[in-house]
Symmetry: C2
């Protein structure tokens, strides 16, 4: 076997990013949902994912359930670990985009610098910051996991919105107010934005 020439031949025959995108029928991108705990990130992300899937898009959702117990199971909640948490999610998102998928991520991601770091990993038009804008009073009233209660009681430290900052997105690509639209309405706003950006067809 002539290894060198075979290598060259097969490199030409590797599946390119464009080949993968062509097979999917839509452009790949990251929908980076950011917002307070209880804002509805995960709910809206899954609703968007459902609508995209229904129209034949190839999608995936990264969230606490499949990241914190797996890839990032070695990380805690120190500042350093929180930065590393977001960095890894960004890098994994980039791999999914390279594979041709529309990947939605649902993490609080409170710091602007971390979100910008992820944006810089992706190409032009591949990263959409989706701000799930819900007033903290509403989030705290919902408190689906009882976390605000624990944070107020001092049982959880560095809790975003209580004793740790949430840095507001200044110019999010998509801005959703969950107090003005129901979940399906919020999801449709994201779909509209993706159509406008040419990620999916009209």
């Amino acid at each position: 076997m002539d290894n060198i020439s075979e290598n060259v031949v097969w490199h030409d025959h590797s599946v390119s990013r464009d080949n993968r995108i062509e097979a999917k029928g839509h452009r790949p991108c990251v929908l980076w949902f950011t917002g307070l705990s209880g804002s509805g990130k995960s709910t809206v992300a899954n609703a968007v994912d459902h609508l995209l899937h229904k129209q034949g898009a190839h999608t995936y959702v990264l969230d606490g359930d499949n990241i914190r117990h797996g890839l990032n199971g070695d990380l805690g909640f120190t500042d350093k670990d929180r930065v590393e948490n977001i960095r890894r999610i960004g890098e994994v998102s980039k791999l999914f985009v390279d594979a041709g998928l529309i990947v939605s991520t649902a993490f609080i991601s409170p710091f602007k610098a971390d979100r910008e770091l992820v944006r810089k990993l992706l190409g032009e038009g591949e990263f959409f910051e989706v701000f799930v804008d819900t007033p903290i009073e509403v989030c705290e009233q919902r408190d689906p996991k009882g976390l605000y209660k624990k944070a107020r009681a001092g049982e959880i430290r560095n809790f975003t919105g209580v004793d740790s900052a949430y840095e507001l997105p200044e110019s999010p690509d998509i801005h959703i107010k969950t107090t003005e639209h129901d979940i399906e309405g919020c999801a449709q706003l994201v779909l509209d934005a993706l159509r406008k950006a040419g990620v999916i067809g009209a």
Copy 2:
């Protein structure tokens, strides 16, 4: 907005793993290529990926190029970092399988314990250890990146096959001898095994 009931409703409407698999037309799995540096892992993995893509499968290849400079860019080559390197690749592979794809990985992965750790992350029939079996003399003669030369000169330490062990797969799911088949032949052996296992159609 009645958050609790909406959450319940939308959870029912989330895209399930089965939904994603159905949309792909094949079963998802990891093809874990293991073998010495220069054995042909990456070449055969890309050839397999090409054949799978041609028949409409949704695929991706994880290799040094897209992992070492991104997700695992913070890791070096100590024993601890090498274990973490393989663990993260395993966890990312698991996410790709959950997304419904056939993901090929091309890393030396010399230690049996690491490979078994990844196997345990995946479900029954989702992990195929593909041993790319090439005698070290042949790998060293090919030496496409000049790494054996550097290792023999002592410029690289802990180089697999030179001053670090390669633990042979005892019962690989797929065993390929690159000195007995050309690259296309090797790739076809993998495809045959995937057909037999019901990952792809006949």
